[in-house]
């Protein structure tokens, strides 16, 4: 049966051939335009991807939103105990605190990648419990202590400190922790002990950034014993009232607010008391740029940029950087008689 095609269209309705071809070309060019511009835009944004440090998730911690990530089910691990701590420490600053979202999304923690957003994105693989810390070297009571036990060694307190990064930005962070000096006193250094050396976890599975030799892993840091005994030096286990997020150095990190941020070693597994000055990671990587002391000093520039000013995260304008990050009254005495240009 022949299908009914209806009446033939009137000849006046037939599109002239040249117009028909032009319309086809118009559509073709339109599609090619759209595809090419999208391709150029996509290519550019892809090339810029590595630079996009600010795209980390604005809130939440790696530990909570990466459950079931490559590190295994985080929820299955023992929950860290809730923190109880005292507030209103006399050494806390009253300056506006940096929002939690910024504190947890803008980090230098090369064990999880070198971009600022990498730690927040990748630190879900770190398992901060169970965790032990080895205390050894020139001490009368060397030991390996579980983190949940160590947390109870001293009453926890909140300390709102300024944090000045060597990259000329700064934050104000409410840490929870206890003075390092409490730990030092407890393990009783011998008369030979003059320095304290700290070591970060070495585990390329938990810390994927360690698969590349960007730095000489594991990360190591150190303090002179009198610096470690200074009341401002803090061993932090939390921030903003909660256990440390992985990207901020869970479960235990050092906070020395008068020094550049890189001295604040994260995810500590070993504390060793020594007679000789211990090697420190950034100093090994670039000795002319990062000293052992690394005290915040606006008068001594980093070879590649000025340290005279800093941008407080959240501010538009830079502000002057203060000697010892504004803690000169408390700590300057530690360095009396020292040439701070030489011992930077």
């Amino acid at each position: 049966m022949k299908p009914d095609l209806g009446q033939d269209p009137a000849s006046s309705e037939i599109t002239p051939e040249n117009l028909y071809l032009r319309r086809r070309e118009f559509i073709k060019n339109g599609l090619l335009f759209a595809a090419t511009s999208a391709g150029v835009a996509g290519g550019l944004l892809w090339l810029l991807k590595g630079q996009r440090g600010g795209r980390g998730k604005p809130s939440g911690t790696a530990g909570t939103d990466r459950a079931g990530g490559p590190g295994g089910a985080i929820g299955a691990q023992t929950e860290p105990p809730a923190l109880e701590f005292s507030t209103h420490s006399p050494v806390s600053t009253s300056e506006t605190m940096t929002p939690l979202a910024d504190v947890t999304s803008y980090n230098n923690f090369y064990e999880f990648g070198t971009e600022k957003g990498d730690p927040a994105a990748n630190a879900g693989t770190l398992r901060p419990r169970p965790w032990t810390v080895a205390i050894e070297g020139e001490v009368k009571r060397p030991q390996v202590v579980d983190i949940d036990q160590l947390v109870r060694w001293s009453p926890l307190e909140e300390r709102i400190y300024r944090m000045r990064c060597v990259e000329a930005w700064s934050m104000v962070i409410p840490w929870i922790g206890f003075p390092l000096r409490d730990l030092v006193a407890r393990v009783e250094p011998t008369s030979k002990a003059r320095y304290v050396a700290f070591t970060t976890l070495l585990d390329p599975v938990q810390m994927p950034g360690q698969r590349r030799a960007v730095l000489d892993w594991p990360y190591v840091e150190g303090l002179r014993l009198d610096e470690a005994m200074h009341p401002l030096a803090l061993l932090a286990v939390g921030l903003y009232g909660k256990v440390l997020p992985n990207q901020n150095g869970a479960p235990l990190r050092l906070v020395t607010p008068w020094k550049y941020g890189f001295k604040g070693i994260k995810s500590i597994v070993k504390i060793r008391f020594t007679a000789a000055q211990p090697p420190t990671t950034w100093n090994l990587a670039a000795p002319d740029e990062y000293g052992f002391y690394a005290n915040v000093n606006p008068a001594v520039d980093h070879p590649r940029w000025s340290q005279a000013t800093e941008r407080r995260i959240g501010d538009l304008r830079r502000r002057p950087t203060l000697p010892f990050n504004g803690y000169a009254d408390q700590v300057a005495g530690l360095y009396s008689g020292m040439d701070l240009r030489r011992f930077f």
Partner: protein, 205 residues
């Protein structure tokens, strides 16, 4: 089709590349407006604008080697636009540094440019681009004569190389990306020098 002008087989090419080239800027502006540039938005914008400038400079320098190696002629038509976008993003990068990062603090900027290799190399790259942008018109090619114009525009390699060094000096330790751009730039330069030497050698024999 009936017109006397030669038929443009790719009338969409230039407008499409132009539109796509604005994407990095559009994304920065949109994210800044939405507060999505992260904790340090000025540093973020600076980094992205600077890298975009470098990408365009390298892309502009790739046009001629693409013709000599693959016989493609269409990239040449994009070369001026790519170079000017490089200059445009470099200008935005510098303006962000001067205006937003340093808040027009002439003293601090002067100290930075004169004292710090990282900054003065970046500044030198920008200054090198100025005569190239100014003489980017067809009229300039006529006025200077093609040979002199061409010689002047070899400075594009200098500007891009300075850009790579500036990028390399910014990072603290992870040099992978600056090295990658340096390698691409070196390969492009090598391709050109190779072709030149070959032509010269062929002429002599």
């Amino acid at each position: 089709m009936g017109s006397a002008a030669p038929h443009d087989r790719r009338p969409w090419l230039k407008p499409a590349v132009f539109t796509g080239a604005l994407a990095p800027l559009a994304v920065i502006v949109a994210e800044a407006a939405l507060g999505r540039l992260g904790a340090n938005p000025i540093a973020e914008a600076l980094n992205r604008l600077g890298l975009t400038a470098l990408i365009f400079l390298v892309a502009a320098l790739a046009c001629t080697p693409l013709r000599t190696l693959f016989g493609w002629t269409w990239p040449i038509r994009l070369r001026r636009m790519l170079g000017l976008f490089g200059f445009f993003y470099a200008l935005l990068h510098l303006s962000t540094y001067v205006g937003l990062d340093q808040a027009f603090d002439a003293h601090a900027i002067f100290a930075d440019i004169t004292k710090r290799r990282f900054i003065y190399i970046g500044f030198a790259a920008f200054v090198t681009l100025i005569p190239l942008a100014v003489t980017s018109t067809a009229a300039s090619v006529r006025r200077l004569g093609f040979v002199r114009w061409k010689r002047l525009h070899r400075l594009a390699y200098v500007a891009a190389a300075l850009g790579v060094i500036h990028f390399g000096l910014r990072v603290k330790k992870d040099l992978r990306e600056p090295i990658l751009y340096g390698v691409v730039l070196g390969a492009l330069l090598l391709a050109r020098v190779g072709v030149q030497l070959r032509t010269r050698w062929l002429k002599q024999t």
